[in-house]
């Protein structure tokens, strides 16, 4: 058998063997081809999510093209230059400086383009200035083993208030006053007049649709990561720091909050809900929470 035929059989055999293995697993677990989704990126329901996905897709097609080209050239060389029955000397070459320069500069340029495209999205998403946002909705979120604690400054969801004005509606807190129970999740100073209308809950975050949301993210114990897969939001919560997280929901509905940074025994279960509502619905919901 010539080495080329053998190579072909090896590749074909590997593909057939893999397919047979997958078929056996599918038969055993009663899977169908539909059990294996390929278009897996979760639906996007936030304003900058599409831009992030755009870069993802751009890199995907670019890396796919390079991947296919590299593997195809590799396989072609293996077929083309497999040692035959009568070995000859190989082509004697130590390389070529021109081609080295070409394949140094081209990848460098590609990387530069990806960097520049990424930079603008990154700055818009992570470096927003909250004071400049129009009609912001501000909410205080704190990670704690193993729950997401949420605080609203009051039961209002009206538009037109500035970020600075909203921030004054939050009552003073001191983390030393955080109790273990549910009474004082954030360590609110009960003597502060603003404390009367602060709303504290666990696990479910209500936000308005089509308005920029500012999450004041903190942690009360270990690192957590506030992950909203459908909003393309992820930010670690760091004890001792308050980090601003920005996103603008574009669709009403209910989605999941996950913790993406290992935080201990029940890390897996540190999930929550994010519910996007119209301003009017949101205000109704917040008033109900305040009443409770």
């Amino acid at each position: 058998m010539s080495p080329r035929v053998r190579m072909f059989l090896a590749v074909a055999g590997a593909v057939a063997f893999s397919a047979a293995f997958v078929a056996i697993v599918m038969a055993k677990e009663e899977f169908t081809l539909d059990s294996f989704p390929i278009h897996v990126l979760p639906d996007v329901v936030a304003a900058d999510g599409d831009r992030i996905d755009g870069i993802f897709r751009g890199i995907f097609w670019l890396t796919m093209a390079i991947f296919v080209a590299v593997e195809a050239v590799l396989l072609f060389f293996l077929f083309r230059y497999a040692r035959g029955a009568e070995p000859r000397k190989a082509h004697f070459s130590h390389g070529n400086n021109t081609i080295e320069i070409v394949w140094t500069i081209v990848p460098a340029l590609i990387c530069l383009v990806i960097s520049l495209a990424s930079k603008s999205v990154w700055s818009d998403v992570k470096q927003a200035k909250p004071a400049e946002l129009k009609n912001p909705f501000v909410v205080d979120v704190s990670g704690r083993q193993f729950e997401w604690r949420i605080r609203y400054p009051n039961a209002k969801a009206v538009q037109g208030e500035s970020y600075d004005a909203i921030m004054k509606r939050f009552a003073r807190t001191d983390e030393r006053w955080i109790t273990k129970g549910v009474d004082n999740l954030f360590g609110i100073d009960e003597d502060d007049p603003e404390a009367r209308d602060d709303i504290q809950t666990i696990g479910t975050l209500y936000v308005p649709v089509n308005r920029p949301v500012v999450v004041k993210l903190r942690s009360q114990d270990v690192l957590h990561s506030f992950f909203l897969p459908h909003f393309r939001v992820k930010q670690d919560a760091v004890p001792g720091w308050t980090i601003d997280v920005f996103f603008t929901p574009t669709k009403e509905g209910e989605w999941e909050i996950a913790c993406a940074e290992l935080c201990g025994q029940n890390h897996t279960n540190m999930s929550g809900k994010i519910i996007v509502l119209s301003d009017a619905e949101l205000e109704k919901r917040l008033k109900k929470l305040l009443g409770e």
Binding site: M7, F21, V25, F31, F36, P37, V40, P42, I52, I55, I59, F67, V70, E71, L74, F77, L78, Y81, R83, P87, K89, A90, H91, S93, H94, G95, W103, T104, P107, C111, L112, I114, S115, K119, W122, S123, K126, Q145, E175, R176, G187, D221, V222, L223, F227, P229, R232, V233, K234, D236, V238, P239, E256, A258, A260, L262, G264, Q265, N266, T268
Partner: protein
């Protein structure tokens, strides 16, 4: 059985012969006792083989832990076979136990399998042989380096059985990155004493790495054979040279972080503590991440550069062609290492680090793709116009090139800061690291072991079993890890014990189950390798001095396996390391030791028959 004993006898005889030879050339001392020869040996080759065998055992332990991890992900909270009996079902079902499993899997694989195989084994075995030296510059320090690494491993193994006072807490459970403040919590959430043992073990191991690195650098700089200029060094030696620089500069930094964490845990300092749980503490949790990644990113290159070097040595031998772009290859490795020190922040894009810094680290990270691309293209260039032989080492080396391309390309996704927002800490990064460390490093290690086995043990490994092992490993590796890209793009977080807890992850569960089946098959396939390895030591076909018809000095030793002292007389080097198919000679290879115009001194096959 009779065949066994016959071969066993031959093997013993070969050793005696080797030593006679050494004595014949006035190598100096009396026949050392068994203990001095095989246990507390100062021979770099014995130390290399000690690293090889111990690391392969750790590789097996790490692999078994990986299977336990996969089992839990596919069938969450049902307990795990074997471990149920070992620890008790209630303990295993606790998610804390799962945290321990993946933490210790990564710890054993990174610190006790991949790094010691690449640096401890290849470094020790190859450096003196390939540069034409009798041994390392500091043989005693070399011995000490192994005998420091082994206790570190024993401490880490012991941690698996040290309970933190809480029934489900064994070893460390904070992830191999062990970020504070989780890794500081004293109540058993991240392991009790097991966590402290983890830190101490790595401090001890770091000392071993530093000893090794000093030795390698000194040896390569000072002990090269006459004619062995830096630009005639085999690329494996270039890679180990650069790796040693990384080890020397990065490891002490990690040691400082480990030390501070030990102090935080055991003495009551607050270097990394902050927040209401620790009133009055003014430390910085992110400080750990900066210091840890300042070591651990270069460590990623410590785990890939030697494999690149090994593959760069093997491809020319079986393509019968000089490496394409030798200098570009050497400088690209130096470029990777240099950039490796200014990219650590890409692990911290979502950590709360200033996003402006994120952009800086993104750009430096992107440019690591450039030397990586240069290397890949040069490997392809080496194959172009070759006379390719598909031996087992070559198959592993080729799949290194094919798989490293995937691991390299998937890195670009994480390097892009906005894309990283979504895929950070998902299975996408798990896929990436495994394509680099298994698809890359481990295939490189398999290539190296099968390539140098004849020199190390004087016998050939079975090609047939070698190929079967390669074939199965290649297939099941891809079936296991490729789908991780898919579930990662679906948003599945790493380090979660039960993906089905999340609605948005439930449709991905069949992928997880398929991966687990493939992982089990991948694990079983390794039995073939271990069997081939062990049986070939005793029963393999006798190897000739230069079975692959290679050009570098390790194939020029006075006997096979080489005696203590390696060469019967000082070798001289006349050529670059990869002069295959040179028009200057009849043969299709021109060894480094062969002076042109001078007949090759008759070197019999086998060892001096």
């Amino acid at each position: 059985m009779s065949a066994d004993s016959k071969h066993g006898h031959d093997h013993g005889h070969a050793h005696d012969h080797g030593h006679d030879h050494g004595h014949g050339h006035g190598h100096g001392h009396e026949e050392p006792s068994f203990i001095r020869k095989y246990i507390f040996s100062e021979d770099h080759k014995v130390i290399g083989v000690q690293f090889l065998i111990v690391s392969l055992l750790f590789l097996a332990v790490g692999g078994l832990l990986a299977l336990a991890v996969r089992y839990q992900i596919a069938w969450p909270n049902q307990g795990i076979p074997i471990l149920n009996q070992l620890y008790g079902e209630n303990v295993v079902k606790d998610q804390k136990f799962y945290n321990m499993l993946f933490t210790m899997h990564a710890t054993f694989m990174i610190f006790f399998a991949i790094i010691p195989l690449l640096v401890g084994f290849f470094g020790n075995y190859l450096i003196p042989l390939k540069i034409g030296a009798r041994d390392m510059a500091f043989p005693f320090l070399n011995m000490l380096s192994f005998w420091t690494a082994l206790p570190a491993g024993i401490i880490m193994i012991a941690a698996l059985f040290v309970s933190g006072g809480d029934s489900a807490t064994y070893a460390s459970g904070g992830g191999w990155t062990n970020y504070p403040t989780l890794s500081e919590v004293g109540d058993g959430i991240a392991g009790g004493k097991g966590q402290t043992l983890w830190l101490i073990s790595l401090i001890v191991l770091g000392a071993s790495s530093i000893m090794g690195a000093i030795n390698y650098l000194t040896t390569i700089i000072n002990m090269r054979a006459p004619g062995m200029s830096f630009h005639r060094l085999p690329l494996s030696i270039w890679s180990l040279f650069i790796t040693s620089i990384l080890v020397l500069f990065a490891t002490p930094v990690l040691t400082s972080a480990l030390g501070m964490l030990v102090f935080d845990r055991e003495v009551g300092t607050t270097f990394f503590l902050n927040g209401p749980k620790w009133p009055g503490a003014e430390g910085q949790p992110l400080l750990w991440q900066h210091i840890f990644w300042f070591y651990s990113h270069p460590a990623v290159y410590i785990m890939i550069l030697p494999a690149m070097g090994v593959v760069s040595d093997i491809l020319p031998v079986f393509a019968r062609k000089p490496i394409f772009g030798y200098k570009a290859m050497a400088y690209a490795m130096a470029g990777i290492a240099g950039l490796g020190f200014i990219v650590w922040g890409h692990h911290m894009f979502q950590s709360g680090m200033n996003p402006v810094l994120g952009t800086t680290f993104m750009i430096s990270t992107m440019f690591i793709a450039v030397p990586s691309a240069i290397k890949t293209f040069n490997w392809l260039g080496t194959l172009w116009g070759g006379q390719i032989q598909f031996t087992t080492p070559m198959l592993h080396a080729l799949s290194f090139v094919a798989m490293f391309a995937i691991g390299g390309l998937s890195g670009i996704y994480m390097a892009s800061t906005p894309v990283d927002i979504f895929i950070h800490d998902t299975y996408f990064i798990v896929a990436h690291i495994h394509y680099v460390l298994f698809g890359g490093s481990l295939f490189g290690i398999f290539a190296g072991i099968t390539f140098w086995f004849p020199k190390i043990f004087g016998r050939m490994m079975s090609e047939r079993f070698g190929k079967v092992h390669f074939f199965l490993t290649f297939i099941f590796f891809n079936l296991t890890f490729f789908a991780m890209h898919v579930v990662g793009a679906g948003g599945m977080m790493r380090r979660i014990a039960n993906p089905t807890h999340y609605e948005f992850l439930q449709p991905l569960q069949p992928w997880n189950i398929l991966m687990t089946y493939a992982a089990i098959a991948l694990g079983l396939s390794q039995i073939i390798f271990f069997a081939n390895f062990v049986l070939s030591i005793f029963m393999g076909e006798k190897a000739s001095a230069n079975p692959w018809r290679s050009t570098t000095l390790e194939w020029h030793t006075s006997t096979t396996p080489p005696p203590h002292g390696n060469f019967d007389k000082q070798p001289h080097v006349y050529h670059g390391p990869y002069e295959f198919s040179s028009p200057l000679t009849e043969e299709d290879f021109l060894p480094q030791w062969q002076k042109l115009g001078e007949a090759q001194p008759a070197k019999a096959g086998g060892h001096g028959h």
